[in-house]
Each structure stands twice: as C-alpha cells, then as structure tokens.
Symmetry: C2
Subunit: 336 residues, 2 copies
DNA sequence: CTGAAAGCGCTAACAT
DNA sequence: ATGTTAGCGCTTTCAG
C-alpha cells in the first residue's frame, strides 16, 4: 500500500535508482535539467506520502540501526540511576539515527534469535554478561559496550570512579571525627565490579588513618543488629547504594534511633528521592545521564568504524564522582 | 558470512524451500525417507550454526515483530511505577516473540521515519499522544494500545480504577475523623486522565459527607503555605502520586511538623520507596506489572487479528486499586 | 548523471 | 512431500 521508489519512478518517468539517489540527496544538481528533475521527484514523493521502507533498507544494508540493551535482572535496569543512563543513551542514539531495544537475556528470555539473528547491530549492558550471552555476541561479532561495568576488559566500557567516590565518602566521615566506619552492601546486590572498587577507595581512606575498614555484605536485619548493638557499633556507615541507605534509614527510625545523631549515613548514586529523605541523604553522585550519552557514542563508533582499527585496546572512560553533603552526616556521638 | 538456507540446501542436496519447511517444523515426517532427510537437514543446519536472518524475514513477512514504546517525557517513562509496567510489558512481549523499542516522539525525536517506516508493527504509550504522532500512526494504520491512559477512546486501553482508588483514600481519612481534606496535584504533572478521575472519586466521597472537596494544582511551596497556615488548614491530604507525597512529607519535616500528627498524608502508586518513608506512606496501590502484561496481550492481539473484526469497540480494561494503610495517616489533631 | 540489473535471505503460491 | 519461482523494496555496482 505505501508508495515505493518504483511508484515514484513510474510517475516521474525515471528509473528507480534515480529516485533513490535524489531522495538520498546524492544528486549534486550541477546540471540544470537534473536539478529540475530532482525537484520533481521530490515533489512526487511528497504527494505520494513516500517513506522509505525500513525493513527493506535493513535487509539491503544488512543492518537495522538497532542497539539492544541486554539485561538479566528486571529490577536492575530501572534501579538507582540507571533510568538516567537509559535516557541519555536513547537520546544520543536517536541523534545518530539509531534506536534502542530492550532485550532480557536470562534463561527464559529466548534472546538468542533476536540478538544473533541480526535484529540488532550492537548492544550495551549494565551488568556482567552470562557466559552464553558473551559467547553468543562474540561469535556473532556483535559490538558491545559496557555501561558502568568493566567485567569484560576486552569490551569498551564506561565506569564510574567508584574508588574516588567511596574514598571521599570515607574521608568525609573521618574528617567529622568518626573512627568506626563501615561499608555496607545488601546481600541481594548482584556481583558487580563497583562493589570491589567502592571497597577499595574506602579501605584506602581507612588504612591511611590506621582505621579498620569494616565491611558487611548481608541482609538489612543483620546490618541493623550490628548497628544497634552495644558500645563498639559503627558510628558511620557508607552504603553501596541508595537502596541500602533507604533500608537502613528506615530501620533506624523504627528503632527510635536518629540520623545523624546516632549514625551518620552516606549513600551512593544520588537518585532523585534521596534529597527528600528525612534527613536528606549525604551521598556520592555522578552524572548518570552522561554515562548513557558516552555509551551511545562508543557503540555508534564501533558500529561505524567498519571493523577497522581492531588492534588498539578498547576504550575505557571514567565518569567522575562528587560527594554531596546533606543532612545525614554529622560528628559522631560524644560517648562513642 | 553466516549460513543461509541455501548453504544448507546445497549441502543436503535439497531445495531451499525444503530446508525452510523443515526448519520451521512444517514437515510431518509421515514417510520414513522424509523424516530422515529432515533430520539430516537439521543436523547440517546445526553444524553450520545456522540462524534465520531476522532482517530478511522481516522484509519478507513485512513485519518486524517490534513494538514501539512512545513517550515524550523522559522522566515520565521511568516515573512512579511505570518501570514495573515496562517490565511486565517486555516480558509478555517476549513470550509472544516480540520485542520493545524505546521511541521518544517529541519535537526533536526524529521519530517519523522509525515509526512510520515500518520498523515497528505497533506501539504502546503511557501518555496522551501529540497531534502529529496520532495522525502519523493513524495514517500508517499502526495499532496502538494506551497503558494507564484513556486519552483516545478509539484505541484499546488499560486504565487504573483511579476513581475507586481516590474514593477509598478519601473514605479512609473521613473515617479517621478528618473534615478538611484536599487533593494535591503538583504543577509539573502533565495533563492526564487520572487527574480528573482521581478528583472525581475524591469529590464523590467528600460530597457524600457534605464536605468540601478542596483541590490544589500548584507548586509544593504554595501547597506548603496552605498546609502551614492558621486554623483552617487541611488535616488530610491525598496526593496525586508518590511524588507529591515525597515533596510534602519532606517539607513538613523541614517545618518541624509531624506526619501523621499534624497532617495525614496519602500517596498514589505504592512505589517501592514509599514503604520506607518516615513514616511509611499510606498509599493507593495497584498491580502495575499487570498493566504491562495486559497491554502486551492487547497489542499482540491487534497485531495478530489481521485487521478483522474492526467493528467492535476497542477493548478497555480496568485495573483495580487497593488502599494500603501505613503510618502516614491517623486521626486529625484534637484542636483542629 | 542516469538506467539496467544483481543481490540481500526468506516466505509463500504454485506446480510437480 | 518437494522443487520452482516470484516477490518483498532498497542499495549498489556497472555500463552507457
């Protein structure tokens, strides 16, 4: 039903190639007669409401201009600030005439056909890829960019400067006078490079001061029991993300304990709602939108450079963090 | 580079159609020789690592099995519980061998080619569509399903029972003894059917009791000034969404006012974090995931029924709400 | 600068 | 049941 270049060609009395060229803007218009002809072709195309058939084009060009967002964990995709990453990603992809597909790649996801059947030209991901997925995209030679993850060093990636982020968080607490400080990761958090790196920055700051870098990877109940026990309890807690901050802040409130009077709390990610917590959360922020934007640029680059320049190491970009001091941190209690 | 059905056909000494049929499972295998041949074909396909080329298939079948999620407002897509809707949507689409594309359709979105060029077979949306978009999908005869929106009655849609939700919220406050109750919508909220409907349920409950249904559509500062003024201030506030609850709850805290002692607060949507607010938020919840699941079914149905049965009115599904009573509501202050 | 023609890989109608 | 053939609509040589 929709008009094709052949319809236009027939009406204009020219060949389909001419139509294609004119519509693509490939005709210089040096000669007057061809300029006129081009104008007429464009006018006919308009009157017919012509639109290039993207399926045909994809078939012919052997690419869809589609990028798949690979994920295994529903919650993760929209967790924390990943929504902002996504926004930046989609917007930047659109600027380059590409689009984003959501592709769950877990067990039942039935992702193989979609991903390896050539319906996307490349992919990005927030999480470490499972072995089958990694093998799949490798065999299909599908370009892939890691966003906020560096689990595969062979792939270009964008990471947050987690080390510096947690270092600054720890430094902030130390400067306030805290000595017993811990890093808390909820036990449901999936393995991710940022866990180690956030620990590393934290550890560095602590050992610089001769302090012990306490680390907990457990349920919130266990964490709370640590926080509410007797004298040696931590007075400052750095959370792996704003999720932990939310849970801990809430539990403390339930126990009738005050933040920051009884515990100084620091989050990570600076997601929207943390500003409105009671008290507002001191947290480590970064430009999440930029991760998406840069990621889009990287994947577009891989898609554009026709497999040339294979030899250089994959690009690695680091996004800076910034400590945002709000109301959830203060000097430790006197008696501590 | 990847193997095609022709490669397989050549190796097996059969025609490409036979390969295609076997691979599609269209061969009954009644006769022994064909069963054997089918097995051999499958084996060759395996050894060649054959995968159907989805671009070619899309071209031939004249469809991509892609569904576009249309949106104009970045924040909205991931706002509130829309992330859950999205999860349900993607998962259910995958079950039916379809996938989801993120398609911003605002001014600079450059959406026309993608949407009208046949790169998606249908679309869904959370928000009222702009005039150009509506015209576009109408002309392209692109099936479209509205999720949590009914701005276009000609389109199948899934809505939340907002009327009942806000009615139950108001009833809850009335039962607690409140008389001065208001409904608050933040001024940045985009026009949406749920605003009117939430007002309607609220209004019904109030007028049943001869109470005045106060309504505010303003910035949080203005709202706060109303809440903190003298004697006639509202003692109960129903918020259009959890966003307003967050802002108001925070502002009250800043003013040194207590929830629910000084103000009973009710949210809408029951997004994850509201359970962890201080105090936990009483809110109107519903099964957001189901909106996505049902939406996927509807769009799949439109895509499958080949334009038959055009005459019946578009499907309209309503998702039920449930009031979740937590700590942010209580009897009004005595002196009020 | 233009036209003719091949090709992208699969589906489906038709003939055997 | 299998083979033959004609599309699907665009891009891209290759001649003219």
């Amino acid at each position: 039903m929709p008009a094709t270049i052949y319809d236009i060609a027939r009406q204009a009395g020219v060949s389909s190639s001419t139509v294609a060229r004119v519509l693509r803007g490939d005709t210089k218009g040096d000669r007057k007669d061809s300029a006129e002809r081009a104008a007429r072709i464009r006018q006919i195309a308009d009157s017919l409401g012509y639109r290039p058939n993207l399926r045909a084009r994809a078939f012919s060009e052997q690419r869809t201009k589609g990028v798949g967002l690979l994920y295994t964990d529903d919650a993760w995709v929209f967790e924390g600030v990943n929504d902002k990453v996504l926004q930046g990603l989609v917007r930047e992809l659109r600027k380059h005439d590409h689009h984003l597909l959501l592709v769950p790649v877990d067990e039942g996801g039935d992702w193989e056909e979609l991903l390896l059947g050539g319906h996307v030209d490349g992919c990005v991901t927030f999480q470490p890829l499972s072995e089958p997925v990694r093998n799949g995209i490798r065999q299909a030679a599908l370009p892939c960019v890691l966003l906020g993850d560096n689990s595969d060093c062979d792939l270009p990636h964008i990471v947050v400067d987690d080390v510096a982020g947690s270092y600054s968080a720890a430094r902030h607490l130390i400067a306030l006078g805290h000595r017993r400080i811990g890093l808390y990761v909820h036990n449901t958090v999936k393995p991710h490079c940022s866990i180690q790196e956030r620990f590393q920055g934290f550890e560095t700051a602590m050992t610089e001061e001769g302090l012990e870098p306490n680390f907990w990877h457990c349920s919130e109940d266990e964490m709370i029991s640590v926080l509410t026990r007797g004298g040696a309890r931590p007075t400052g807690l750095i959370c792996y993300s704003d999720l932990e901050s939310t849970l801990i802040g809430h539990a403390m409130w339930q126990y009738g304990l005050k933040i920051p009077a009884d515990l100084s709390l620091i989050g990570f990610n600076d997601k929207f709602a943390t500003k409105y917590m009671t008290p507002p959360l001191t947290t480590v922020g970064f430009d999440a939108n930029q991760i998406g934007t840069l990621g889009a640029e990287l994947i577009i680059r891989s898609l554009t450079s026709d497999g040339l320049s294979e030899d250089q190491p994959p690009t690695s970009i680091q996004v800076k963090t910034q400590l945002i001091v709000r109301g959830s941190t203060a000097a430790p209690p006197k008696n501590a």
